[in-house]
Symmetry: C2
Subunit: 274 residues, 2 copies
Amino acid sequence: MILDGQKVASSIYENLKKELKWLASKPKLAVILIGDNPASESYVKIKEETAKAIGIDFELFKFSQDIDEADIISRIEILNNDQEVSGILVQLPLPTHFDEYRITQSISPKKDVDGLTALNLGKMFMGKNSLYPATAMAIIEILDYYEINPTGRLVTIVGKSNLVGKPTANILLNLDATVIICHEKTEDLAFLCKRADILISAAGQPNLITADMIKDGSVIIDVGVNKVGNRLVGDVDFKEAKKRAAAVTPVPGGVGPVTVVSLMKNVIQAYKEA
Amino acid sequence: MILDGQKVASSIYENLKKELKWLASKPKLAVILIGDNPASESYVKIKEETAKAIGIDFELFKFSQDIDEADIISRIEILNNDQEVSGILVQLPLPTHFDEYRITQSISPKKDVDGLTALNLGKMFMGKNSLYPATAMAIIEILDYYEINPTGRLVTIVGKSNLVGKPTANILLNLDATVIICHEKTEDLAFLCKRADILISAAGQPNLITADMIKDGSVIIDVGVNKVGNRLVGDVDFKEAKKRAAAVTPVPGGVGPVTVVSLMKNVIQAYKEA
């Protein structure tokens, strides 16, 4: 079975649209984009379109990569104090001469819709309500939609980023999954993947997950987005995964669209809890 | 080989004593103890003795279990604002009618020497400097002292508490270990333990880790402290572990003493970063 991210996203999208009707005013998402990375520009474009389609106001703050870090931070502080703004997001990655940590931590945790501030990550760590990283939320949304219960299941996660691998591991642990976290230094990756009831790859490496690493009847969530020639592919050998696994997300059309609507869910949550 | 916690603790203890000589004033640890749980009382006693022996001031605030939660929180707020106090610790567990989360989160992150506030846990999650939970620190100190490098090793952790299992998993991931986290809902616990190069049990269940769950030549860290009759035992069948593993921590005399000095390390860090 294909786990259709578009379908999951549509279902969340419809719910959010309904919810927005009941709000006294429009939530607003402010996005900061620095430099001219074409991939970042296209991600921001998708966020803008989705926000507007749902009924969320959107404002883009675009800066050249020559801008001073202090100027970015003062812009964030203005947005932190702007009552019209519900959510603030700095599009990552930043050009390498910026301190990503310092910049993201200057966002007010109440408006941190990417879930990257220490306070929000700490609450997530403890299983408390907060704004969670959208990609991790998207993975859980997909499992939920298809009624795949991770409790007691063996989940192998490939990748240990603060944005995807580690938060996903924590959320799944809080849901009582048994979790294995692998990464570049892992020996025996194939073995640890092959055991998994649910395999989540967020490594960003095309064809990393090959046929021999997939357990028959398992669930595969492919978070990778890799450009190969003109095509976007995930981390997983999709053809083989379709044969062996019980269910697999495609790339594109899997985790991606659900991540964008999960971000919008955070914007609305931030609005309501302001 | 026995991993001698007392020896590791002594080495840290001596370093802290030396460090204290250079400080302009004495750091102070304030401990809040609620109710009359004898185990909690004896843990607090050990902390008091260790603090004083190192040269850290110690003050105990003891309350009956009838105290209002609001009164505890106002006491914490007074301590948060008291410049003489470097570190604040609420001895856990609290009597069940208290909201542990609300109480611990009222501690200023700068004085949170148990590393339980969301802000500190979030920083730890990202591998940034902060006050880390002392038991997780102790495990790393023991590995360090015996020059056991977790990078690339397969580490299985049994237990997923916010105080031990999850922080230890995160710190080890940040050190590039491959990490498996198991718990009560884990099927196939024996298999996942048996694969581990380093096995850390923090389940609090005597004799949980039996001979068949131990890889030959592995390292076993036993965080369990269980009362069986009048004896304290860990989670691991120590006799069998000694035969099979390359190295194992005893209970008592393993992780425990290192945890207490790690807490003192946090008090001094909090003092210096105040």
